[in-house]
Amino acid sequence: MERQLLPIIKQSQIAYETFEIVFRTSLAQQLKPGQFVHIALPNHILRRPISVANVNPIENTFTIIFKIFGDGTKMLSTYQVGNTLDVILPCGSHYPIEDLHVRKALIVGGGVGVPPLYYLAKTLKEKGVDVTSILGFQGKEHVFYEEKFQQLGDTHIATNDGSYGVKGFVTDVIKQIEPEFDYYFSCGPTPMLQAVTNVMGDKQGFISLEERMGCGVGTCYACIVPLKSNPEKSLKICKDGPVFAANEVVLG
């Protein structure tokens, strides 16, 4: 983990209030799918955690994708090529794909949970894994990266308002297409993760969680999540997570 001042190499809006920023860093190659970076913004006491959405190991760059949510992400959206940002990286755990025997992977993402899954899907595909992706968005103008996911495998889009793809939730699509897979990988808002892990039952999978963070490195105990095996114990999302085995922790 290091604190670095990173130049912005590319910046663009890719969907409604959704932006993509590409940074250059010597640490790009160390960033693994599921990890996040912790970004400082002027006049904000706390950093903002944002997932790694892609890495280009040759160019030494990585990508983040974020949506305007409040003050901080709004400010972040004004940053342009040539500006620099103070970033702590790499943060947190990653999808442990090097330790798994995966043949067929199911990717289930919702909203700003989609970005880390792109880097994961790409990495899985590079390893020869067969990838099916189910991505949920609020509506048509919120959809991003559909083509990029399609290049990696079968991709299904659901929107809450039905303005694009299937109307409904990612779980509706899961029930509908009954995908075959050894492992599932999911990231998105907690209600979605609850629904997904419910539908999945005992199937093996990994999920990635969000929580308001203080330090982002494991010192402040802001971001804990109770263990399913013993809810008196907890793990830190910033350090032990954000990626957990699907049935390791209590959701919501």
Binding site: R3, I45, A222
Partner: protein
Amino acid sequence: MTLRISMPGLNLKNPVMPASGCFGFGKEYSQFYDLNELGAIIIKAATKEPRYGNPTPRVAETASGMLNAIGLQNPGVQGIIEEELPFLQQFSTPVIANVAGSTIEEYVYVAKSFNETNGVQALELNISCPNVKEGGVQFGTDLQLAKEVTYKVKEVSRHPVYVKLSPNVTNIVEMARGVVDAGADGLSMINTLTGMQINLKMKRPIIANKTGGLSGPAIKPIAIRMIYEVKQAVDVPIIGMGGIETAEDVLEFLLVGANAVAVGTANFRNPLVCSEIIKELPHVLEMYGFSSVEEAIGKGHTHG
């Protein structure tokens, strides 16, 4: 330029230490710099048993500050002694243990437990905890309770005791005098101010616990005022804290009478902040005409 400073039980190479709860037990930030650089380390609160703490969200951001309601999550004093202190013993940096509890007996138990280890050089008595027996009133906002817990801990501890004052009181001087009378070797101030922030979308407090402790630069003027007032009333060393981000801030605390300082919230934004402040401090002291830390202490009181 010497940064050295001595206080009961503490021989510090410089006056800068991370504040309790903002540095865990040192492991994470040791990835960013050598912890030997620090004047001391105040570790996360210790209670008798392991504590889970409050539900999440536990933090919120405010204007130049933040709220936290961690709820004293910690692995318990035995856990700390066995699993956390050994890591810190590799450094030459003194360790101050933050002692917390819900009853006087718990404080006493925790303080006593730290007698058994060489890994700790002083205690910081965190009296901002609610007393379960007294219906939840905070030790730190009740003069009699504050004195009693100080006295009882002093009775059993072989370590110097720095009592950490709560700013949520009408009369901070009275509290300071009380705990000094009860035997405190020093004071540590200030802890957080109780605050709240509302999530407009959810129409409820952001922090699950509803209220949280306000820290960061927003509270610095309150910390400075309280230390200024207390310095004129008592004669024990003070570890000052509340919103420190720069070496200039450290000097401001020294001038009103802090003998050393702790940096809390600022670590979250800048994990290297303590190291950077320590490197900057000699220049700042020199710029304002001081040749040592010692010399600056209390110098903001000399005029009018």
